[in-house]
């Protein structure tokens, strides 16, 4: 039997809906094709070209950029690029973990409020994201400076020495990263908190589970799709982030994002920048796949 549905008051068939659907998604697909797929392919091709004189592109393909990325040059081997890549992975991963860690209680806390209060709290979370990233980050530069109260408190607690400040350095980078990523982590978490079936939590307690077992099987198991979404929304952008590390990390604090920016900017070495970009994309994809396999195996 042919399946029929009512669409806009008219009886329509599945196949007609499908045809109509192609028509509607067409522009979107075209957009992605022109502005995402083609540039990505171009980037991949460019990654194997060479820098010509004065920043021009020499379309002579080789694996030279990959070798450079791994640290091999005419001066011998240096670990700098690999260290930058490792540091970027580490920072993105820790930022993500911290965002989930802070985001989970926030999501529960917001879901515990009445409807209008929830909207207000969401507005509070989203407002900082409406300001410019550079301005927000510059604000942290001032706040974390040597004369401000966070530094005084840290000094009082003996965490930093006299005359030192919290900025620049990795602590400042983490503060900047987590504060700008947290809203994106909280939203999917909140959605899954709202959908929680508390009966399953009660079932775990009813079946003699202690607090940890109850949290794992009762709450975490149900929230896993939300956590996966949260991780993707946090991990991918923080891996490519360069503004925050540039402003809060100090001159020696490089992430892969900064390195790429440098190649397309002052170094005028587009092919090497493209190779770094390809590696960034691949690393993101691989880490997401690993995460899905390991973390999401039992759930998704």
């Amino acid at each position: 039997m042919q399946q029929t549905e009512v669409f806009e008051g008219k009886l329509t068939t599945r196949s007609r809906m499908r045809k109509f659907g192609v028509l509607l998604t067409g522009p979107g697909i075209l957009w992605l094709l022109v502005f995402l797929l083609i540039p990505t392919v171009f980037l991949m091709v460019l990654a194997f070209a060479q820098r010509g004189s004065y920043g021009s592109i020499d379309w002579h393909f080789s694996l030279l950029n990959l070798k450079r990325l791994l640290g091999f040059s005419s001066f011998g081997w240096s670990p700098d690029n690999l260290l930058i890549l490792w540091r970027s992975v580490k920072i993105a991963a820790f930022t993500t973990v911290l965002c989930i860690f802070f985001g989970l209680p926030m999501a529960f806390w917001i879901a515990n409020h009445g409807k209008s209060m929830r909207a207000f709290l969401f507005a509070l979370i989203m407002v900082p994201s409406c300001t410019n990233l550079v301005i927000r980050t510059a604000a942290w530069m001032i706040l974390l400076g040597p004369d401000m109260f966070p530094a005084s408190i840290a000094r009082f607690l003996g965490l930093i020495a006299e005359g030192e400040s919290l900025y620049p350095g990795s602590f400042a980078v983490y503060v900047g990263m987590v504060s700008s990523m947290l809203p994106f982590a909280v939203l999917p978490l909140y959605t899954s908190v709202e959908r929680l079936d508390w009966g399953i939590v009660e079932a775990a307690r009813d079946l003699y589970a202690g607090p940890v077992r109850t949290f794992y099987h009762g709450i975490l198991s149900q929230m896993m799709p939300g956590i996966v979404a949260s991780v993707i929304l946090t991990l991918v952008p923080s891996f490519g982030m360069y503004v925050i590390s540039d402003l809060l990390g100090g001159s020696k604090y490089m992430l892969i994002g900064n390195l790429i920016q440098q190649q397309f900017g002052s170094a005028s070495d587009w092919p090497f920048g493209a190779m770094l970009g390809v590696v960034l994309i691949l690393t993101s994809v691989i880490s997401l796949v690993i995460f899905q396999r390991v973390g999401g195996k039992n759930f998704v």
């Binding site: 009966g199 079932a203 079946l207 003699y208 589970a209 198991s221």
Partner: protein, 361 residues
Amino acid sequence: MNPLPSSNQNFDLDIRNVHKSFGKKVVLDGINVFIKDGEFVTLLGPSGCGKTTLLRIIAGFEKADAGEIVLSGKVISDRSPSKRPINTVFQSYALFPHLNIFNNIAFGLKSHKVPKDEIERRVNKMMEIVNITDLAKEMPATLSGGQRQRVALARALVNEPDILLLDEPLSALDANLRKKLQVELRELQKKTDTTFILVTHDQDEAIAVSDRILVMYKGQIIQDGSPEDIYEHPVNRFVATFIGEANILECERVSEKLAKTNFGNLVLEKDPTWEKGGIAIRMEDIHVCTPNESFAENVYPAKILERIFRGDYWELIAELPGVGACESLKLRVMTDPDEIYNPGDQVNLYIDPQYLQVLSD
């Protein structure tokens, strides 16, 4: 706490003077019940009567404002749900969506760190009892409602709890399956020899499965008895109309064992305690007289207004004319399928005094 309770113990449940309010709303208003080991007890009442709250207090998900729960002589009111030898079958089943059926059923045993081979043995045996042996590797999402129901039962019973609580366990199933599972529930209770406490708003279900029914209304237990007892001797208007359907006659006491109604005097077996009140009569207890039958008392002329075919019986709406200035009264009467009465027929109705149930209000 012990998943393997010793068999010579008595798991009597004593609910003592339990009170519970949510804000200003009083949900439970002094509940006192003693439930014997091995009983199948049903908490029956309309939504909002407090039956689910009482169940949740027994399970430990809610804390009573006052009163205590005593199991096998020990007060358990302050224990968390995970420390009570009581398991629950939830209304929505609440199966763990990320665990397969075997692991769902094994959950309680794993919490107690029961040895692996024993878990295997007990889970398999339980799956046999509830007839789901072929589902061990399935995920809950792929199961039908009836299958989920069985998994939920197995998951609770595999722990051999002292008491099994069931929160409207059949409400999500269709009528045929519900009837079938009612029988299975009853058999399962006998087989496992466990105290079952069931919450339902479905009076047919309560009557079909229980040894004992506690009728709850507005936070109180208003009647406590066997299904037969509650059906035949409802204490008040609420019970009379909630369990089965009954005609309620508004009466005034005239003299000892004699009451006055709109359509004449009623001879009673028991003397009412009130001056004005209600008397209930089930529709199957009103007899339509054949022309050559005669009774000394309680015979009233009536006109048939309507007849409704109910499959195994006819339901008649009969109008009894009022005496003097009184309004006439409509009664529901039940007759056998082969006794045909048509609208407009004049008949005599006989009401046997032994079936007249004097209500308290």
